[in-house]
Assembly symmetry: none
Homo-oligomer: 401 residues x 2
């Protein structure tokens, strides 16, 4: 029996509040002997570790480096190996594109094609305004193909979402993207027999796009990746856990994912303090809060070790505002690690601390990778974080007699 | 591959002896800074921790609070998510009711019905003698319904077991119990089409019961819960592990469960010392001994912190008698936690210590929740306790070439 089946049987609604602060890409590797967490001056995160029970989580299992989607799913109690979300779906929901159950969506890049070769995968990062104009043009000139409605939604700079709406579509398609510059454009391929129709449609669209964009100096072609449909049978968090969840996140990806999971996605500005202000203003209206902090991951991805240290120190100052709310359960952790030295996500486990009256503090008093390894939660699958949070908020009944 | 499949392949009979002492509901939460285990003076349990290898077990997984049934199954190496035992089955076996493969059993309460409302779910806790008389009456007046044999077996006070025997019965029934007093009596509902016949039968029985009990001042009705059949495909411990197991437990629930698993259930009195005396008297006749100690759980359930501390201190005095037997494997642990402050089972992990010549002691020298968290077994699923015990008793062969 899966956790979800068990959840449906055991959850009970209570007023208890849960705050889950995700410091994206938090875990790191040492530079001059110290990880970013070890180097940062962060008295409040350390105090949180002192008050709580600590451990390390594996988002999927040891050795697996997750994308943001799977890593977050796991934290929210959804098996990431069971629910695989297409990047197109996440991007669509993040940019506010409504996706119907039959639709197929993909991430698009405007690109520059010369002599059949993709010479710039981002079309010189054209302006967002130019992008808007191009999408409008294309939507007017190619509103429909083979009875399927075709819609482009502009994103930032060269990015857009392609949505195909109509019956008989499949998302079992390979990317129409050579991934590297200087290589020939490639068509989408059907990965299953039922996707032949959609593959043909996508490739016809790409051919016609060349004509529409023939006069453009830079954006004369497009690359399509992450064809995907809305996952069927994905239960929402309110349904599964009988909670009223709010997401406080500014990046499209996380907003899209949480909307998909049935959270209410609150408006938030780009400042770190904003996520805390939005939390405080809405604290009475929900009983589960997901706060997303991106700077740790961005700095890690760019290899900016010092900036990642600063990003940790910056958020540290806000922690007392979380304590003051006195939630029944406060968790500070990460979705995955992003060591600056690797400049990418990694498979290293996430520091995890849970503070609750029903979780007696262990002997950990610093919030670092090494200290959390000695916590009494031990090393555990991130998928067990949600049951643990619900339990400490008394939202789970006894299993069996 | 499941552990059970592996067990069948790897087990080998040896003379080595295993003693598993379960201190029910042992783990707790701090009161004035100390859990019950931390407050207790228990030199022998601490010495056991010093001699052994320690850890913390999760009966199901993090956050899940198990009932006694699932928690024990896990300790005995049976996946509690796979084998879900109905409360009726456990109660039946515990009270010595033989359950055939086709039978359906349920827990019954005599209750008081007034104007269609259940005004007392325990019929004023009628005496055990009165209960016996009522069951005899009912068995005489309602021996059979629609070709199905109906039998009541009296338990303590207001409790009884209902057994239905005959072909075509199903246990997919909801409880015929409003759960709260002041609510109307409710019928059993079929939860699957094949249970319609049984639901009709149960509800007919309840109707006729009103007539039989019409003259009773208090026990004029009954509530039925936990309809269940013998779980099919549940292998016995002797079959699965090639051991000769004995259960030394005085409470019906644990006697029932272990009988179901093929253990021999030995007679034991209510004194703590009795379980040790029975063990010593029967030590040559079996090679796996399960000892159940209930007082820690009972005190926890009632919120009697000091009594739980005393219960720990009481059993501590007997530990040297276990050492003197020099079993190849001695394990002291619990099935689940029952913190006095919660007055109920909880999801917190169980302290676990295993003493064996083949398990080199770690650095833990106190038997508490926090100390066990630092043990070299770490935090692990209780389902792995049985393989570990069998291995240390050299009862498991190598897996693969």
């Amino acid at each position: 029996m899966k956790w979800e089946t068990l959840a449906r049987e055991l959850v009970q609604p209570t007023d208890s509040k849960i705050i889950l602060l995700v410091m994206d890409g938090l875990g790191g590797l040492p530079v001059n002997g110290r990880t970013e967490l070890e180097a940062a001056h962060k008295p409040n995160l350390d105090e949180t570790a002192r008050r709580g029970v600590c451990g390390l989580t594996d988002p999927v299992f040891m050795g697996i480096t997750p994308g943001s989607g799977p890593a977050h799913l796991s934290l929210f109690g959804y098996d990431p190996l069971r629910y695989q979300l297409g990047r197109g779906i996440l991007e669509s929901l993040g940019t506010g594109v409504e996706v119907g159950r039959e639709d197929v969506v993909a991430r698009g890049n405007f690109a520059t094609l010369r002599d059949g070769l993709v010479v710039d995968r981002r079309a010189g990062r054209i302006s967002t305004e130019e992008n808007g104009r191009l999408c409008q043009d294309i939507n007017r000139q190619l509103p429909e193909l083979n009875g399927i409605k075709v819609s482009l939604y502009p994103g930032k700079e060269h990015r857009f979402v392609l949505k195909l709406s109509g019956p008989g579509l499949s998302d079992a398609l390979s990317d129409a993207d050579p991934q590297k510059e200087g290589k020939p454009a490639i068509p989408a391929r059907a990965l299953a027999p039922e996707a032949e129709f959609t593959a043909g449609l996508v490739n016809l669209f790409l051919e016609q796009l060349k004509t529409v964009l023939a006069g453009e100096p830079k954006a004369n072609y497009a690359l399509l990746r992450g064809f995907s449909k809305f996952p069927s049978h994905l239960p929402s968090m309110p349904e599964l856990y009988q909670i009223k969840p709010a997401a406080i996140a500014s990046y499209p990806m996380y907003r899209g994912l949480t909307r998909l999971l049935g959270m209410e996605v609150l408006e938030v500005g780009p400042d770190t303090g904003d996520i805390f202000s939005v939390l405080e203003r809405n604290y009475d209206r929900y009983n589960f809060f997901y706060l997303h902090y991106k700077k740790t991951d961005s700095a890690g991805e760019d290899g900016r070790y010092e900036d990642k240290v600063k990003a940790i120190e910056e958020i540290d100052a806000y922690l007392p505002r979380l304590w003051q709310l006195r939630p029944e359960v406060l968790v500070v952790t990460s979705d995955h690690s992003t060591p600056s030295v690797l400049k990418s996500h990694s498979w290293h486990p996430n520091p995890f601390v849970l503070v609750s009256d029903r979780a007696p503090a262990d002997e950990v008093n610093r919030f670092t990778e090494k200290d959390c390894a000695r916590g009494s939660l031990g090393r555990f699958p991130a998928l067990q974080a949600m049951p643990l949070m619900l339990a400490c908020a008394l939202k789970l009944k006894k299993f069996g007699a």
